[in-house]
Amino acid sequence: MTGSTTRPPLLDVSDLAVSFDTEGGAVHAVNGVSYTLAEGETLGIVGESGSGKSVHVLAMLGLIPRPPGRVTRGKVWFGGRDLLALPERDLRRVRGGEIGFVFQDPMSSLNPGMSVAAQIVEPLRIHLGLDQRAARARARDLLDLVRIPNTKGRLDQYPHEFSGGQRQRVMIAIGLACRPKLLIADEATTALDVTVQAEIVALVQELRREIGMAIIWITHDLGVVAGISDTVQVMYAGRILERGPVDALFRDPRNAYTLGLLRSLPDLSRGRAGRKRLQQIDGAPPDMRTPPPGDPFAPRNAYATPRCRAEMPPLSQAPGAAPGHLVAAWYDLPALLTREAAQQGHTP
């Protein structure tokens, strides 16, 4: 769907749904997510916390805890195979090899009982079949690559001896170790200060160019998304509400939730003295044990129509928008915004 390439996409997710069995009933964490990703493409995913961003990527590789988690339907095509139907053995070959993963929380995602070297060496030995010495040498290169100073002495240290930022860089080194075709980075830079974050973003960009790797970059930082992505996808309550080329989506949001996100950023153009109150989205996301029948964002959305509350809008090409800019909405946001601005007497 994205771009006009005729080559088959690298990744094709169709109608993926995941739920968790809990005491109070099943939590429908992901509710039919479909998208494709071309080779070398960078997809930024933003969205409400708890909207299923992490869960849906974990589900692709069979990494959700089971029980209580369950993939209820969907297919994930990657390199001509449906990952969800793949036996565990074959799936293991994909994990860490063709698809690299960087997790959200560097504090807990590294094994506290293994040296950093041992953890980086692991995928190299499993997927590339390197021997211990070669793998260790590669591990050092990788640490250099993610700009950890003084790599020699640090290889045999343990995660707790690294700072949060450094740990995150180790995670990234692990994710990149086998030069994957696809890197999934789940809030890979959240815990880092901006200088380190900038370095890592630059690093990933470089690698992407170098080895033609595709990236799924999950983050809350709209600034990072803006810089890194080709395509952006907005998730809410287990669904994709909007998806489009990065410029189009930032410039011309078609879903009220996307708009809300963009508007909640602080506006610093007028300095601190002239600042306005931050705009926030009130209310809470729906209880995913009983997802609303219609648009899940409707209860918090001032522009929602009765139809929004009753029926889930499909994700389809937004009228009058850039090609490949898809939105799930029954309302026409630009039209509404124009009307609103007119009523208030000035243009947005």
Partner: protein, 314 residues
């Protein structure tokens, strides 16, 4: 490293002193004294008086403790009144046997308990989990003497594979030694296996849900390596702690098993000494178990630090 060891060993001193004082005081609570126990069927009053005097039993408690402690400081653990042998000799004779038995029992406990605990954690809620729990708890609820006798009946009387009793020092024949130790070690280990299993299960459940195990899976790590290399070391601390505790209790607590299989170990020495009010022997054994126990805790701490690098700092 050496300084650390020295430091830890200094901490052992108060423990040893305390243990010896407690045991000294406790023995005073026991009815009857060495003289009563030793005067035999004939109960000659002169014999009783003689024994009392010879072993200072007629002295007040602190004086007797001082006698004993003075001896210990000179490297003399006293003499077993009953066996007329220096306690240190007895200890040297029995300690290796006890240690071997305890080690083997621990080995059995770990070999049974840890895999079962892992299995039931990995397969939580399945039939395998229930079965593993059932087996482990069965092991816990069968008294040692029962299991021991049943095993002798099966393996010695009916099958004739293993000797029913009789300790063979490993220096004589390692094979025979192991054959003789197999059943007692199993009987002892079997009960501890349940403890190991339950704690392994609990710890593994915590670890298996952790993020780093997920990371390992995302790297494509195979299940076996995932469990053994990534999960188990992080679940090992309670296993090590309890292992050391149980090991310590094996040193003097394996009486029944030792009795059934006629293993000449500490437990039996201790119990006989208690029943015969052979105070010096009891004291000697307690001091030795206390010392071993301290060494065990030290080893457990080192081991914990080995599996958990974080502990190396604090």
């Amino acid at each position: 490293m050496l300084r650390f060891l020295a430091q830890r060993l200094t901490l052992a001193v108060p423990t040893l002193v305390l243990a010896s004082m407690i045991i000294f005081a406790l023995q005073q609570l026991l009815p009857g004294d060495t003289a009563t126990a030793l005067s035999g069927e004939e109960r000659d009053p002169e014999v009783i008086a003689f024994i009392r005097q010879k072993y200072h039993l007629d002295q007040p408690l602190p004086v007797r403790y001082a006698y004993w402690a003075g001896g210990v400081l000179k490297g003399d653990l006293g003499e077993s009144i009953r066996l007329q042998k220096p306690v240190s000799e007895l200890v040297i004779e029995k300690l290796p046997v006890t240690l071997e038995l305890a080690c083997l029992a621990m080995l059995v406990a770990l070999a049974l308990g840890v895999p079962m605990g892992i299995l039931s954690a990995v397969k939580r809620g399945t039939f395998a989990d229930t079965l593993a729990n059932g087996i482990a708890l069965w092991g816990l609820s069968v008294p040692n003497f029962w299991l021991g006798i049943l095993m002798i009946l099966l393996f010695s009387v009916h099958l004739g594979w293993l000797p029913a009793s009789g300790y063979v020092p490993p220096s004589e024949s390692l094979v025979d030694n192991l054959k003789a130790m197999a059943m007692p070690a199993f009987v002892l280990g079997n009960a501890i296996a349940a403890v190991m299993m339950r704690h392994t299960r609990a710890a593994m459940l915590g670890v298996l849900g952790s993020d780093y195990v997920r990371t390992a899976r995302a790297k494509g790590v195979a299940p076996l390596r995932l469990i053994l290399r990534h999960a188990l070391p992080n679940a090992a601390i309670p296993i090590i702690t309890l292992g050391a505790l149980e090991f310590g209790q094996l040193l003097s607590g394996a009486v029944l098993t030792e009795q059934i299989f006629s293993v000449p170990g500490f437990g039996k020495l201790m119990v006989d000494a208690v029943f015969n009010r052979d105070f010096a022997t009891v004291q000697g054994v307690v001091i030795c178990t206390a010392a071993t126990y301290i060494a065990l805790n030290l080893a457990a701490d080192l081991l914990s630090a080995a599996v958990n690098p974080k502990l190396r700092r604090a």
